[in-house]
Symmetry: C2
Subunit: 244 residues, 2 copies
């Protein structure tokens, strides 16, 4: 069954303490890269899959979206979204993104931030997304990078003294469930290859328009000691595509 | 300076013993995937960058290419190519792919098999390739996968008994030279990120039409004991693109 970890009170509280939760978009290391890959929102109908606190819904609304629909499986996340990020054009819907359905061509823009690695069947979802988009519509998403999800622990390999040796990759081609530890809690995530992510777009008539493996800005690497480790392995992937 | 390892007699002799050298395309694990991504060759002008023994030049000629130009930095490789893979439409040229130049729109198809990880500046080469292609021309290449080239050793991380633990990734975002060991010989290769490879295409007006991380066919995994390890990390990347 679909896991809804964000409604777990302990996990939800830990997530609430993260920079990306307290500070929003500016607290998310990949935001600058993601923002540069976002399409024009003015006058467009927008869907945000796994909208969480609604930061991206608010961003779309602030940039002129005609309508914004945020979908999330977590009632707790949506409660915060409804408190923090309201606007006349924003509607929130409590549902798993695997369960929603819309008319063909219902949206001009479909977004998703760091949610697809919780989805077991990305192929089915990508088919839906391509169908829900109008021609020349835009699809932009971030997810955990396949290098980060492959082995499963999502942790560095260290020597006996605890120093980082490298990041382990294993079972890269074995797609499916991984039991990862995130914020000290066990969370079910799904690993798939880069090939699966990219071809799910190409095979559904979407043209790839952007590809990024976001890395921390140089000033963060220069000023935050641990940040240099973030140059040692990719953690996130951002793809942008356009319906032809 | 550009390394020309394939003219080193010891390395050349070891390379000659590999399945891909003795058996040709059918001896290359990624061939089935690469072949499925190749464009139509009939009546087209083809350039093969880093043509080696000329297997792919011969394939293009057999599939109706109007002309095939194979370029390689190694005289020894070209000597074998001229012995083994001759056809009236094939011409071989001794040069580094970084040094050649052609008129705008000189080719319909540009290929390269496992050579770009020897090239220091892929951005400059990709700009040339995009320029050398005619509109609706095709570009298909294979190279070592960034996961495989990042850390540098290109070897598994093993326990004290020599059993494979996982494959190490490190310095992923630090692009540039790596001293790898290939066939027991030290060889200079260049690591770059997936982002660099993909964006070099997109930024030069090429549309991505294919993305693959080839893996061994299931019957090889079932019958060759060590082959299951090849499912543990990606080793090669194949991209296909079309000039718009």
């Amino acid at each position: 069954m679909m896991e809804n970890k964000y409604d777990d009170p302990v996990f939800f509280e830990k997530y609430a303490q993260m920079d990306r939760s307290r500070l929003g978009l500016k607290g998310a290391g990949e935001w600058r890269t993601l923002e540069s890959m976002l399409p024009d929102f003015a006058g467009r109908d927008v869907l945000d899959l796994g909208c969480g606190y609604g930061w991206h819904c608010a961003y779309a609304a602030e940039h002129g979206a005609k309508s914004v629909l945020g979908v999330d499986i977590s009632e707790k996340m949506l409660k915060t979204a409804r408190e923090k990020h309201t606007a006349p054009v924003i509607e929130y819907r409590h549902a798993a993104m695997e369960d929603v359905d819309f008319a063909d061509g219902a949206f001009d823009v479909i977004l998703s931030s760091l949610a697809f690695h919780y989805v077991a069947d990305f192929g089915a979802l990508a088919r839906n997304i391509a169908r829900w988009l109008r021609p020349v519509g835009d699809f932009v998403f971030s997810c955990e990078h396949p290098v980060f999800t492959a082995e499963g622990s999502q942790d560095w390999y260290r020597d006996a003294q605890g120093s980082i040796l490298h990041f382990p990759v294993d079972n890269y081609y074995i797609e499916g469930e991984r039991q990862a530890v995130f914020l000290g809690e066990r969370v079910t995530k799904y690993h798939r290859t880069l090939t699966t992510y990219v071809n799910a777009l190409l095979d559904n008539g979407l043209a790839l328009t952007g590809f990024a493996e976001p890395q921390p800005p140089q000033e963060m690497v220069d000023t935050i000691p641990s940040m240099a480790d973030e140059l040692r392995r990719p953690m996130m992937l951002i793809l942008a595509a356009k319906k032809r």
